[in-house]
Every structure is written in structure tokens, then in C-alpha cells.
């Protein structure tokens, strides 16, 4: 059930006749403007704060309590900056590129399953959709860089494109192994399958612990996702010590802000997808949140889904924030790779390993009928 249906369900209870199309737009507004953008903005603050902690500095602490409103101030600052476009720039593409990047990183939020009841669009090809839109980002980066007629930008953009397309293959292969094991592409169903295993139940616990191949593939996915988001140690497209600012050198003011925002949105998106397909989404060990029953209702409205949703969103966002924190942690831990090391890592390590893991995952699924390590263990111990 998607968020739009959820909203229209409430609407039906209240008895107002608002057309469904409006709810799908409303759900997009809720997820993007009330979740993705503020959280993306908050991440820019968080990154500075985390960086400061790693370097034993204080970090932003002036705007709001412990600097919490810093991103808001940054946003206003960038909003009010002069919009200066270099006269050599290819203006059409230059104006179009940020839209492409935003459509890629924010549009894919439609498929993120925040809870069993709240998902932007419950697509049957959810994972595929997220990956397909994710690759729009590389186009946006390359077009933006190309259109600015700046050498730094061009080098950064070329690097970005080569890197993002290369790492899309291990990313795709590791997602493919999940699909082989679970037999579904709908993110909603993928999460539903990762419940704590009960006797006779469908759940096989988190995919990352499903079998050893998926365990390794999780790290491949994470590495490839880092490269997809241009994050350290793969931040060659905007290597600030060599390329000024890389692909967004010529983008100033709000245009730069949009690029920065969509970069963080990309990080959050990949963390969300990793949580959903590998880390069990909103599932917790030992207990299935969806079977929680508080037995409260207001008139006809059953409050269970709402209470469950709040808990599920909490669990989901907790996992996402752990992953986002690891991404920030890595930035201050690992040095940047060289271009040839970057390509070697992808083509000579990640792709062969993920190939092998894909075959391994398929063989495991075949041999044990799709049962996970935990389920097999339960069988041996006679629990389920």
C-alpha cells in the first residue's frame, strides 16, 4: 500500500471527495519536501559536526542550539546569492543539469519503504526503478560539467561519469543476488520477507545474514554505493585538492546548493535501499512489528497501522542513520584513491567477486529452497 492510498484511505473515512491524483502529488510533497530535503540539509550540518568531532574541533555551534539550524542558515544564504553563469556556458544544458540530478536522486525516494504502510509508490520493480533513476545522476553530473566549459569541471565530470558507470555493475550484480534469493523486485515485498523467522512463517531474517554470499555482497553494495554517491574514498569527481571543486566548479549560489543537496540525498537514498534490501528494512530481531496489536481504535479508524508505522519508521531511520554515519566516518578515515586504483578495484575485484557471489547465492537458493542460514539452524535445532 502506498502513501497515496494511505492518505486517500484516511480521506475516505473523513468523507471528502478529493481525486486520487492529488494524493499522489501530496505523497510526493510529503516524502520529498518534508523528509528528503530537510534530512539532506540536516546531513550537511551533521557532516560538519562529525568532521569536527573527528578532528577535535567544535564545528558549527552558533545558529540555533548546538548549531542545529546551521543548514537552514546555509540554505537562506545560498538562496540569496547572486546567480552568476559564465558567458561561455552552454546555458540550456547548464540549467537543465541540476534538474536531472535532482530527478535522479529525489525521484528514487518514491520506492523507499519507510514502513509496511508508508511507501511513496509500491512498484513491482522497486529496486530496478531506484537503480534506473540513480543512473540519471551520472548523466546530470556529466552534462553539468560539460556545459560549464571549464577544464576543472570537464575533468571532474569525465571522472564522475566513468566512476559512476563502472560501479553500477557491481551494484547491479549485488542487487541481482538479492533478487535471485528473494524472487521479488518490489521493495515492499523484499522487506516483508525479512521478518524474524517463525515456525511456518515466510520470514528469513535480514538478507545480509541470509547466506555468506549475500553477507559479502552487502559490503560490495556499500562500496559501490559510496562510489555512486562520489563519497570519499571515491570522491575523484570533486577532488577539491586537485580539481578546485570538480564537476560543480562553475555552479554557484543555489545551483551549487542543489548539487550539494542531491549529493546528500543520494547518500541517504543508497542507505535507504541498502537498509531495505540487506538490513531488513523496518524489521527487528526476535519480534515482528507488524504483529504488534495495541487494540486501540478511534471510531472506525484502526490505530494499529499508525502506531506500527511510527515504530517501523523509527527502526528504519535508525538503520539508515547508522549507515549514513559510517559514510561520514569513512570520509575522515580513508584517503582518496587514484583513478587507476579506482578502476582496478571495480573491474578486477568487485565485479569478479560479485559475479562469484551471484552464482553462490543462486546455488544456495537452489540447494536449500531459499531458506536462510538462520532458518536452517532453526531446523537443525528443532525450533521451527
Amino acid at each position: 500500500m502506498s502513501l497515496a492510498e494511505f492518505l486517500s484511505g484516511i480521506n475516505q473515512l473523513l468523507g471528502t471527495g478529493i481525486p486520487m491524483a492529488l494524493f499522489s502529488i501530496l505523497s510526493a510533497v510529503i516524502v520529498l519536501l518534508l523528509f528528503a530535503m530537510p534530512v539532506g540539509g540536516f546531513c550537511t550540518y551533521l557532516e560538519r559536526k562529525v568532521a569536527a568531532d573527528f578532528q577535535e574541533r567544535i564545528g558549527p555551534n552558533r545558529v540555533g542550539p548546538i548549531g542545529l539550524l546551521q543548514f537552514f542558515a546555509d540554505g537562506i544564504k545560498m538562496f540569496l546569492k547572486e546567480d552568476s553563469i559564465s558567458k561561455n556556458a552552454d546555458r540550456w544544458i547548464y540549467n537543465f543539469a541540476p534538474s536531472l540530478v535532482m530527478a535522479g536522486s529525489f525521484g528514487a525516494f518514491a520506492a523507499v519503504p519507510f514502513s509496511a504502510y508508508i511507501i511513496g509508490a509500491d512498484l513491482d520493480i522497486g529496486v530496478f526503478y531506484a537503480m534506473a533513476l540513480g543512473s540519471l545522476v551520472s548523466l546530470g553530473v556529466l552534462l553539468g560539467a560539460w556545459s560549464s566549459d571549464n577544464k576543472w569541471s570537464l575533468i571532474g565530470g569525465m571522472r564522475g561519469a566513468a566512476q559512476i558507470v563502472s560501479y553500477e555493475i557491481p551494484l547491479g550484480l549485488s542487487v541481482l543476488s538479492i533478487i535471485t534469493v528473494c524472487g521479488s523486485m518490489s521493495l515492499h515485498q523484499l522487506v516483508a520477507q525479512q521478518a524474524w523467522p517463525t515456525p511456518g512463517g515466510e520470514g528469513h531474517f535480514w538478507n545480509v545474514f541470509h547466506n555468506p554470499f549475500l553477507f559479502v555482497n552487502f559490503f560490495i553494495y556499500f562500496t559501490a554505493a559510496l562510489a555512486e554517491c562520489n563519497r570519499t574514498p571515491f570522491d575523484l569527481p570533486e577532488a577539491e585538492s586537485e580539481l578546485v571543486s570538480g564537476f560543480n566548479t562553475e555552479f554557484s549560489g543555489m545551483r551549487f546548493g542543489l548539487y550539494a543537496l542531491s549529493e546528500f540525498a543520494d547518500v541517504i537514498l543508497f542507505a535507504c535501499i541498502a537498509t531495505a534490501i540487506f538490513l531488513g528494512g523496518w524489521h527487528v530481531p526476535f519480534f515482528n512489528l507488524q504483529s504488534l496489536d495495541i487494540g486501540l481504535s478511534v471510531g472506525e479508524l484502526d490505530l494499529n497501522p499508525l502506531v506500527q508505522s511510527v515504530l517501523m519508521i523509527g527502526v528504519f531511520l535508525f538503520k539508515v542513520s547508522v549507515l549514513v554515519f559510517v559514510v561520514m566516518w569513512l570520509r575522515w578515515t580513508l584517503p582518496r584513491l587514484r583513478v587507476d586504483q579506482l578502476m582496478n578495484l571495480c573491474w578486477k575485484y568487485l565485479i569478479p567477486i560479485s559475479f562469484f557471489n551471484l552464482i553462490g547465492a543462486a546455488v544456495w537458493t537452489w540447494a536449500f529452497g531459499g531458506r536462510s542460514l538462520l532458518q536452517l539452524l532453526g531446523q537443525v535445532l528443532g525450533v521451527s
Binding site: 546567480d83 559564465s86 536531472l100 513491482d124 571549464n150 523486485m185 587507476d340 578486477k348 537458493t365
Partner: protein, 179 residues
Amino acid sequence: MLGFGGLKLRSRCLLGFNFFQRHRVVTLETYGRNSGMLQEFGNALSFVLLAAILPPLILFIGKFFRPSFPHEGKLTTYECGELPEGSAYVMFNNRFYLVAIVFLVFDVEVALLFPVLLLFREAIDIGGNTAAQVFALAFAFLGVLFIGLVYEWKTGDIDWVRDAEDRRKHLETLEKAPQ
């Protein structure tokens, strides 16, 4: 729409292969009616459109608030404070092009494998040699591409930096290859 329908309804016709007996053609209308999936794609579309119109919208609203003092110096290309030296549209390392070509092959392969491996679980449940068929199909396909990867690796096409010795060897292998 057949592809999407195949994924949702597990229709038995996929990529021209009849894996299973029951053949079912899914059209746009039956697809939308059966699953409400058109509504879901409509939701997804509203996300993409909203995300795409946000940048122009924000920039348009900002137009009424931000200053605009264009100046010759500001509008030149940034090159670390120096006057820009020619255009940026220069000859570029064709490695990038090669990577893009190799990527295209692999990405199409991964995209084509998605629907096939999606059916793997179901094929196992059906029993018999259906799973073996799907497995053989998918991994024969993968195997061919993997041989391609090994070839690329051997000839050094996926090495970013190739030293003079390597390049000489590479040219030799190219000359030896049958025309």
C-alpha cells in the same frame, strides 16, 4: 508493458522464453486493472516530476530576492584567477570512452538478467528441471560475458594506466589477431 507485466504477474512469457506452460499476455489495460500498478507508477511519476521542477522553481522564486550585478570579470570561466586559456572542449583521454563501451555491455547484461533471475525462486518451487533451465540460461549468459571480462583483463583494456611495455604487447596481439 509486457516486461513490467511479466515482472508483476509472473506472466509466463518473458523475453520470448516460455518457461512454463500457462501463457498469459498482459496488456496495458489488464495490467492496470489487475494490480493498480498504473496508479503506483503514477505516484512514482509525481515524485520524479516534483523533483525535476524543484530546481527551476527554487531558482525562479530566488530571482525576486537575489541581487544581480553582472560584470565582465565575473562572467569569465573560472581558472584559478587567471584569464581562461582557450576552450575546455579539448581532446580527451579515450580511456573514458572505452570504459563507457565496456560498461554498456555489462549493464545491458545485468538489466537483462533481472527478469530471468527473478523467476528463479518460482522455478525452484515448481520443481522438476525448471530451476536447472533457468540456472543454465542465466549463467551461460553470464559466463559468456565473464569470458569477455577475462579477455578485456588479459588485453589490458580495463587497465587505466598502461605502460609502454604493455602497449607494445597489446599492439602485437592486435597484429597477430586474424583480420
